[in-house]
């Protein structure tokens, strides 16, 4: 979709290239995060796409069309543009701000009004309340949302975003990132996203392009960058806690043990108790006929009880969802001081369990410090 072919930028009056022979391709519908330390040229590279910075040599093309040969005004109007400082026009209402590009493209009034309402609702801002507010009457998070939907106004296939969530506190940033990913699921834009925050890059990116002093060091998926850092620089940049960062990427469903041992509500207590004794189980999960989780039973209480399991079942309050990432699951386990957490879906159906051992093995088994795979290590001692 967007291709960079041997793109270079040398600012007048210098002979050190700000962008040096960069080549990569961003597939359609994906978020490509450009990241690197400050001064590495990431913003320069992004601004060359809509020609806010002229290209010195090489070709940037969108859908096979060389941007240098396109009409610059038309090019920019066809690309959504959101920047770190938001850049909302202070003299215009929210409505006028969002309507900027549609008006440049001469949309009729009804179409603009409908589109503005649609976009405001998309980011959870009530149109009737926010339509005629001025930027100074918005909170940081609200302004940032308007900045993003303004870039989305004409539904452009390509979007450029320069640290769009950079000016927001960490908590709101997470909220906005999640919201943006949810929107992206629907709209499937091709997005160039500049950031200096590796967490944000790993979270948002389908691909990550890591730059160092104008050179492209590694272009890979977040997973690839964490598991196979190409050199010392990449390794240092993604940080010594690569393993922990992978927890962000992996879902609970990737690490959980499926179909865990359990019993049913109507089972006979004595039978279950016997089974637990034989298998050295202190606790056992309890579900119903539809495999919906009801809680757990304790062997100590169960033994000697005559009747059904359901008489003694205790509720299970701490569970995780399969789509949550492992970092959330682990932090839940640590904060409640539990070694095991049960995975249920939205209807409460028992899907699996996650314990610290399975969790660590998933993170740990893929690579060691040098990137080699050790395979499964057992506790057999000397062989």
């Amino acid at each position: 979709m967007i291709t960079f072919e041997r793109v270079s930028k040398i600012y007048p009056g210098t002979n050190i290239p700000a962008i040096d022979n960069v080549r990569f391709e961003v597939p359609e519908g994906e978020i490509c995060v450009i990241i690197g330390p400050s001064g590495c040229g990431k913003t320069t590279l992004m601004r060359m796409i809509n020609r806010l910075i002229p290209i010195t040599s090489g070709v940037i093309s969108i859908k096979g069309q060389n941007v240098s040969e396109m009409d610059v005004i038309k090019l920019r109007r066809s690309i959504g543009y959101a920047i770190q400082q938001i850049g909302l026009f202070p003299h215009m209402t929210v409505y006028d701000n969002i309507a900027t590009v549609p008006r440049l493209l001469k949309w009729d009034k009804q179409r603009i009004a409908a589109r503005v309402d649609e976009l405001l609702s998309l980011v959870g801002l009530e149109p009737d309340i926010f339509r005629f507010r001025y930027p100074r009457e918005l909170s940081g998070g609200q302004a940032q949302r308007i900045g993003v939907v303004r870039a989305l106004a004409t539904d452009p296939p390509v979007m450029l975003m320069d640290e769009p969530f950079g000016a927001i506190d960490p908590i709101n940033r997470e909220v906005l990132q999640d919201e943006f990913l949810r929107i992206q699921e629907k709209v499937k834009k091709t997005i160039i996203f500049v950031t200096h925050d590796i967490h944000e890059a790993i979270k948002m990116g389908d691909k990550i392009a890591l730059l160092e002093t104008g050179r492209l060091v590694q272009y890979d998926t977040p997973e690839g960058l964490l598991v196979n850092p190409k050199n010392r620089f990449v390794k240092d940049f993604v940080g010594a806690d690569r393993a922990l960062k992978r927890l962000d990427l992996l879902k609970v469903k990737d690490a959980m043990m499926q179909n865990p041992v359990h019993c049913h509500m109507e089972d006979d207590a004595e039978v279950v108790s016997q089974h637990m004794l034989e298998n050295e189980l202190t606790f056992l999960l309890v579900a119903d006929q539809n495999e919906k989780l009801h809680g757990y039973v304790n062997h100590y209480e169960l033994k000697g009880h005559h009747g059904k399991v359901k008489d003694l079942v205790r509720p299970m309050t701490i569970t995780v969802k399969p789509e949550q990432n492992l970092k959330d699951a682990l932090s839940k386990m640590l904060s409640y001081d539990i070694g095991i957490v049960v995975v249920v879906d939205d209807d409460g159906k028992l899907l699996g369990v996650l314990n610290t051992r399975t969790l660590l093995s998933v993170v740990g088994e893929t690579y060691d410090e040098r990137g080699g795979v050790w395979g499964k290590i057992t506790s057999r001692g000397r062989i």
């Binding site: 806010l52 920019r76 543009y81 026009f89 209402t93």
Partner: protein, 246 residues
Amino acid sequence: MIDVKPASSGSDRIWMWIAIGTAFAGGAFVQRMGFFDFVQKNPGEIWKLLLEHIQLVGISSAISISIGVPMGILLTRGFMRRYRDWVLNFLGICQTVPSLAVIAISMTYIGIGPKTAIFALVIYGLMPIIRNAVAGLAGVDQVILDAGRGMGMNSRQLLFRVELPNAMYIILTGIRTSTVINVGTAAMSFLVGGGGLGDLIFTGIAMVDPAYMLAGAIPTACLAVFMNWGFGKIEKWIVSPGLVYD
């Protein structure tokens, strides 16, 4: 839009009494000088000169604005930016020349009559307008210019939809300053036969007749105050409520 003034505070009331007292004392003073008698006897004369005065101010300010604002815009465009400081310094020097001298110099070239007066007033009124237009336009946040450009505005759209609306408050302040000063300076036009309330003022001075002089001075002052108030209203009307300057 958002700011609501408290109905009446203690300090407001004190100022109100001071104003009333001053007006009363001033009224008593001008009465003793024979101002009201004079106005009653010559209402037509004062009215005619007031209209002349307004005409002088109106024409010269209109010309100043229509030269000054475009010049301010030009001086902030890329190709002219290098001349900016040069032009502003030059105008600053011009401003130090007394208004009387400007009128005198223009008289030597154009002769006497309202034309000379208007020419001098235009020259004298340009500086605040150009300076504020340049300051206002140069002060527009680079970030919103970048946003506008990135969204595909051409330079004309950027100027009219982003730069001018955001600089409008400062541009209008320049126009207001220039016009209010102009009301006072226009009294000098009597000296080159330009007419206006200066006729009464200077004649009054020459004849040592306070009533005569005040009949020119008081309407001039009132006109200046009214202009200032009027521009305040225009400002509220033109400048976007999204831009608040307190």
